[in-house]
């Protein structure tokens, strides 16, 4: 093989919120842990999260984890697993308090407690309302504050980082146990094997499968691509969240906290249209509901602007003090990317691809689970996933705002704890298979040897255009079917990409080509899973599945209250049941969802 092999107790791939929370757990337990990241840790996309982290602290008034749990299940349109959701909501207050102790500069109330703001879909009294203030925030830079705090805490714990290393492929032995990853050091172009007794993927989402996205360039679904190539199925990828408020034309995120603090949406006639779609929660309905309402307004000709293709987010009535204190980053973004100062003028916004609810299937311990001998959820030994790349599933068919940061920290920490237990029970490294690096070396050799070939830039754009046109906010059966054909054609082109740059030193063309190998797996999984699911649920809204008696909003619990599992091999689909049984409380049974 001839490659350098480095051995660790644990390897963490990805240094965003989930990866850093897990690595902190591992490093503080005295384990030898390597954290790989394509970018310096504080450049991970957690940095861009704005509005807050959800936890029922009850600092602003009555709240409870049971209410948070109810809202999350309802938000998920009952596709979320209720054991994992209970765990998320019970642990949330603890991990937020820990972050505060780590130094996160949360905003404060007069009595010195953490300030919390309202957010979409978060209600009092088991969904009955009114809105609850549950989002713990640092102005509108909560992700930045959280990521830096977690990095700082890892500096204190002497965590070992491999910065600007890209993981290429997962290493599994014949029994399926995971033994680490192959990885490329970008600066030198060298490939190594990072052997680990426990491996965590915390690689984030794949927002770059869409042409208009709030996501960073690095969000290319690397963990999902690696898992899929290693035979692990991907769960519920048809559920992709479109955030209601991306800056028109630029895609940059405008936090829901704008509406949490009292801003609202207007159509071209100046009508506050959300009152028609969600009479109780209005602009603070959950994201799938608001995005669909906006898309409907645009479709029916009530959009603003010369092409009637955006809506207006008004917040000037909050006054300059509130905007400067609670939403300073938004003001900065609006001025830069929309050429408006929100202190005076509304921000032009459109629903924009934002968050992947699905991912690598895990249980609430962060252990990766796949169908096998003992039913649908057999643990893959040595393999863990947390954060946006994982599907626990706490977000089901639609994620509530603020629950992504909660997810990162709760499941980052839980994964770290699970890995510590596994490492204690399983001392000693397994033997690496002889072909451990074969797949990665073949991918690199193809790129190095390819003369001419398809442009990574153009094939990537075709992938993104296809997803945008065929798998958006509203989904149509004919467009989905055609989309499956198109994305398979793109898939064939991805196998023929070529790069002109053959340098070994920081070859970003090679990195982008390798990222495209991951993007295409996520894109195919998303399109194929969406085409197959014949109902409307949460973010997956099919034109042929309407609201009718027995099918609230087009949802079909009889046939489709189940998780999708997509396998790369032959685009094969399987399904597994949703876990409706929480850990300690009663099931919250499915019912019609209205805000």
């Amino acid at each position: 093989m001839g490659l350098a092999v480095r051995q660790f107790d644990a390897v963490v791939v990805g240094a965003g919120g989930a990866g850093l929370r897990a690595s902190l757990q591992l490093a503080e337990a005295g384990l030898k842990v390597a954290v790989l990241s394509k970018v310096f840790p504080t450049r991970s996309h957690t940095v861009a999260a704005q509005g807050g982290i959800g936890a029922a602290l009850g600092n602003m008034g009555p709240d409870s984890w049971q209410w948070h749990m109810y809202d999350t299940i309802k938000g998920s349109d009952w596709l979320g697993d209720q054991d994992a959701i209970e765990f998320l909501c019970r642990e949330a207050p603890k991990v937020v308090i820990e972050l505060e102790h780590f130094g996160l500069p949360f905003d404060r109330n007069d009595n010195g407690t953490i300030y919390q703001r309202p957010f979409g879909g978060h209600m009092q009294n088991m969904g009955a309302g009114p809105a609850v203030q549950r989002s713990c925030c640092a102005a509108d830079r909560t992700g930045h504050a959280m990521l830096h705090t977690l990095y700082q805490r890892n500096v204190r714990a002497n965590t070992q980082f491999f910065v600007e290393w890209m993981a290429l492929d997962l290493i599994r032995d014949a029994s399926g146990q995971v033994l680490g990853v192959t990885a490329l050091e970008m600066e030198t172009g060298e490939v190594s094997i990072l052997q680990a007794r426990a491996t965590l993927f915390a690689t984030g989402g794949a927002g770059r499968i869409f042409a208009a996205s709030t996501n960073a360039f690095i969000n290319t679904g690397d963990g999902l691509g690696m898992a899929a190539r290693a035979g692990i199925p991907l769960e519920d990828l048809e559920f992709y969240q479109f955030h209601p408020t991306g800056v028109y034309g630029a895609g940059v995120l405008i936090t829901e906290a704008v509406r949490g603090e009292g801003g609202y949406l207007l159509n071209k006639g100046g009508e506050r249209f959300m009152e028609r779609y969600a009479p109780t929660a209005k602009d603070l309905a959950s994201r799938d509901v608001v995005s669909r309402a906006m898309a409907t307004e645009i479709k029916e000709g009530r959009g603003a602007g010369p092409d009637a293709d955006y809506l207006l987010l008004k917040l000037d009535h909050l006054g300059p003090e509130v905007i400067e204190k609670r939403l300073p980053g938004i003001r900065e973004i609006a001025k830069k990317f929309a050429n408006v100062d929100p202190v005076r003028d509304p921000i032009p916004v459109v629903p924009t691809a934002h968050y992947q609810m699905g991912g690598i299937p895990t249980n609430y311990h962060g252990e990766v689970v796949v169908p096998g001998r003992d039913g649908p959820n057999n643990v893959v030994p040595g393999f863990y996933a947390a954060g946006e790349c994982a599907c626990a599933s706490v977000h089901g068919a639609n994620r509530l705002g603020t629950n992504s940061l909660t997810d990162l920290v709760v499941f980052g920490k839980a994964s770290g704890d699970s890995m510590i237990r596994f490492l204690q029970e399983n001392p000693g490294h397994q033997t690496l298979p002889a072909d451990a690096a074969e797949r990665s070396m073949a991918r690199l050799a193809r790129l190095d040897g390819q003369k001419g070939g398809e442009s990574v830039y153009e094939v990537g754009n075709e992938l993104r255009r296809t997803m945008q046109a065929h798998c958006g906010v509203f989904r149509f059966p004919d467009l989905l079917a055609e989309g499956v054909k198109k994305i398979r054609a793109v898939s064939e082109r991805v196998a023929r990409t070529g790069i002109a740059d053959k340098s070994q030193v920081f070859n970003t063309a090679r990195v982008e080509a390798l990222e495209l190998d991951n993007l295409i797996e996520v894109a195919r999984a998303t399109m194929v899973s969406a085409d197959a699911r014949k109902e409307s649920r949460g973010a997956h809204d099919r034109a042929d599945c309407h609201d009718r008696p027995g099918f609230p909003n087009g949802r079909d619990d009889q046939n489709w209250l189940k998780h999708t599992l997509w396998y790369k091999d032959g685009d094969r689909l399987e399904y597994k049941p949703v876990n409706l049984k929480p850990l300690t409380v009663e099931t919250i049974p499915p019912k019609a969802r209205a805000y």
Binding site: H45, A48, V155, I499, F506
Partner: protein, 231 residues
């Protein structure tokens, strides 16, 4: 638009050279980063860092027409052509616009960039008044892009000894935090002819900071605390 980029690949080039590109822009291309993505599509050997494309991750710092800034929040309309791009000054170049930031992060790590409070943590949050929290505004927002430190002559001359504006801003972020208990140790750590006192208030850092932060003011406050505790 005409863009000149200082290129260098140690694998191939004996020395750095300027390469010129004419980029056809679309109406949707607003920021310099949009143009750089187009350059990369024409010539995939051009190497630069980028990620969030909205000015929060700090990846795409570079010298733009002689001034350090982030490509993703530099409006094309505000740039005079031809646009000349160089890697950040004062750090070793790895390739093209990608610099080796080891020294920069070493200085950041040297200030113990984490909250120090050895009291057993309470069950709930540590209380902090809104006023005490406000003292952190203008400090915690740093994105570690290195625009400031690499614009500072004192950092150019002594990158191994002078902490630099970015590191010092973060040193003050923890000194200013009512929850942190290590002010004395933090001041001891900086009481040195180089680490803090190489700052001569030239204020290049303030001029270039893409987040509008003011490291010079923070450094002044650290210096004032040093004086205060010595009398």
């Amino acid at each position: 638009m005409h863009i000149r980029i200082l290129r260098y690949d140690p694998d191939r080039d004996a020395k750095p050279y300027f390469k010129d590109y004419d980029v056809a822009l679309d109406a949707s291309d607003r920021m310099l980063l949009d143009a750089l993505v187009k350059v990369k599509a024409m010539d995939d050997s051009f190497a630069f860092r980028r990620s969030c494309r909205e000015g929060v991750c700090g990846s795409d710092a570079m010298t733009i027409n002689g001034k350090n800034g982030l490509a993703c929040i530099t409006k094309l309309a505000d740039l005079k052509g031809p646009v000349e791009l160089r890697p950040l000054p004062g750090l070793p170049v790895i390739r093209d616009l990608i610099v080796d930031m080891t020294q920069f992060f070493k200085q950041y790590h040297s200030i113990r960039p984490y909250l120090v409070n050895d009291e057993p943590p309470p069950e709930k949050e540590r209380r902090q008044s809104p006023e005490d929290r406000e003292a952190l505004d203008g400090l915690y927002e740093c994105i570690l892009c290195a625009c400031c430190s690499t614009a500072c002559p004192s950092f150019w001359w002594n990158p191994d000894k002078f902490v630099g504006p970015a590191g010092l801003l973060q040193a003050y972020r923890f000194i200013a935090d009512s929850r942190d208990q290590a002010t004395n140790e933090r001041l001891d750590n900086l009481e040195d002819p180089y680490r803090l006192f190489r700052c001569h208030s030239i204020m290049n850092c303030v001029d270039v900071c893409p987040k509008g932060l003011n490291p010079t003011r923070a450094i002044g406050k650290i210096k004032a605390l040093m004086v205060k505790r010595s009398v």
